[in-house]
Amino acid sequence: MTAQSVPAARPVPEEPATLTPNQLMRYRAKRHPGLLLGGGVTLAIVLAALLAPWIAPYDPIQQDLLAKLKPPVWAEGGSWAHVFGTDIYGRDFFSRILYGARVSVFIGFFAAFVSAIVGAAIGVVGGYFGGRVDAVVMYLVNVKLALPGLMVALALVSVTGGSILALVLILAFLFWDRYAIVCRTVTQQLRGQEFVQAAVATGASTPRILWSEILPNLFSHIVVMMSMEMALAIVVEAALSFLGLGVQPPTPSWGLLIAEGRQFLFFKPSLIVIPGIAIFVLVIAINLLGDGIRDVTATEGKG
């Protein structure tokens, strides 16, 4: 008797087909290494950012011109007094990284959040109403897509100055279109689905249908996209800072730290490597988290 071996199945304690979607999500989440790792790291960084004022050993803008460019603790001449060393003005680099997380995470999150709200609203309206409304939405999206985003962002920052609010809005402007496109497509699909038709046939008001039938089904898409866009926003903010058009010092974002550190590329590489790795780790973590959320919230299908 020949046989092909059956791929080993993981044993399970309970019968998940009888789980509610939320239970199923939790069930899957607990078994998703990417999600756990990404979520854990993201959470740690967000916590570090939120708690920066309490855990940072120094004031991040406190200069000590006598103690500038101290090496990090692992390098020769480093000390635990300044774990990551100090920068050119003698500011504690570890504290700056912590506070930088604050700015980067804040900007990333709110840029993703604002663009999600704007983009989703536009997309849902276009997808649901179709016709002229949709034509207008697609036209807006097309105009947005046709604009060279980074150039426009640079121009806008140069005009408005790099206040955090302005940056959030400008980054949101850069990213809303993806939400719009995805939400529009999904809404179009949903609109054709029979449960939405049934809701329409009950005479429910359009806002009620959008709110209770469409939105819940968009939610996981939006969350997944938000994580991706948040990661991207952090990188783009870093790029703007790198070009000198990002956040305003002295409170740094990670991008700004890289920009400041690049002149020490060859002599104090820690000043550029540490924030570089920080961005890298955060962005990877958020991406893993997003991928994980997508896997976990995916509706069940064969295969």
Binding site: L65, G244, Q248, Q263, F266, F267
Partner: protein, 492 residues
Amino acid sequence: AAAQPAEDKLRLAFEFPISTVDWYQDAKPEIEMVAEAVFDSLISYNEETNAYEPLLAKSWERVDPVTLRFALRDDVKWHDGEAFDADDVVYTINWLIDPETKIRFKANWKWIKEVRKIDDHTVEIVAKQPTPHDMMRLAYGTQMLPEHVHGKLQDKMAFRDNVVGTGMYKVAGIDTNAGIELVKNPDYNHGGPAKPASNVGTFHIKSIPDAGARTAALLAGDVDLLRNTSYEEAVALSADPRFDMDVLQSVSYMYLALDALGKSGNDALKDERVRRAIMEAVDRNALQRARTGGEPEKRSPQALCWDFQAGCAYSEPLPPFDPAHAKKLLAEAGYGDGFDVVVHTFGSTRDYGEIVAGFLNQVGIRASVQPMTFATFRKLQAEGQLGVFVGAWNAGVGPDVGTTMGLFFSGDTKDYYHDPKLIELAEKAQVTTDPAAREAIVRELLDTAVQKSYIIPLSGIPIPVVHRSEIEIAGGRNMPYAFSLGDLNWKQ
């Protein structure tokens, strides 16, 4: 590839792409640095002796308070072999003062009423009114153009395709991507002591915008000299036996100005004690040391003008560094708990702004830094929207206080003091030709500004330069860029 004096080619990298060497077309300091080597002015200024010296003009005389007569050299040839003569001067000056000419900073020549050709080698430049800094203007940034080439061009921009000057280097090629190549002009011998020829055969200049990449290029041997680097990096680089470092001195300085009128909406600044407190909170020495690695600077302005500038005079010492007193002053003014303030900076002044903000925070003033583009900064400055700002001023690019006085105390929107006395003094300084009288006016003006804590100079702008050790640089210039191409020489 390492720098090879054998090849006799010196390679530099600028921050900006360079598409022309004509400073009139692209008025950037870097361009002027090159333009100076390609073109000549009528006269030059010897910064060692503090005297004007002949260049294209052999000699000059002041015919009357508004008229300067220049006798031109008759042995100078343009790069294409044509002889230089009075027509070129007349053409150049007329082009500069023509209202239709589109170039930046036209106000630099608005004092000129007309230019007259007396004979082939004599011209007269007539001012609209007695102008104390007329010689300075002619020595700096007023380079002569060839009428037979430039005059014929419809589109003056096309001049870059066939650059003809009288200077010590000829342009062998300009290409946005490949950079600029300059070769030595063997016929150049009119420079005199103020503008001697360099011994470098060829210069190659390309652009590398990113600071890190510029350093990398030096290390990789793609360029031979690095300017616009930080002091720390320069020190680190010069540890490499291939490189030496010099800290050069530009004529520009950083200043700290306060919105004494409260135009920006920050009422605290209206209080003279608060302003004084801010100024006493800043340790200018530390700030200078931060930029020069502990060496106090060779030169640091003690007023809004340099000692070597004609007309510069002051007696009021700058506020001492005294944070305790500053705190006391703040408390007296009712700001014991500090207040919020934004330090506005642009491009290169951001570093200084950060340091200033750091000092302010130490006396309890909650300062953040707002860096912006130069254009935005100037606009906000002109609109009177800045509160505390760290600016850079090129000191009028020359050995004369003339243009500085009108800048800060003009009485218009960019004047943050609207002090009638100062406005009047500034106007007088612009038209007073008698040196002693002018000095008295300037002294009163500058002393008042400090006494009322309106504005103080923070620091000169030291420019660390790292270069291959085969190169030596003749000392600083009264220029924002600290040295000109002609100052670079192979070590003998």
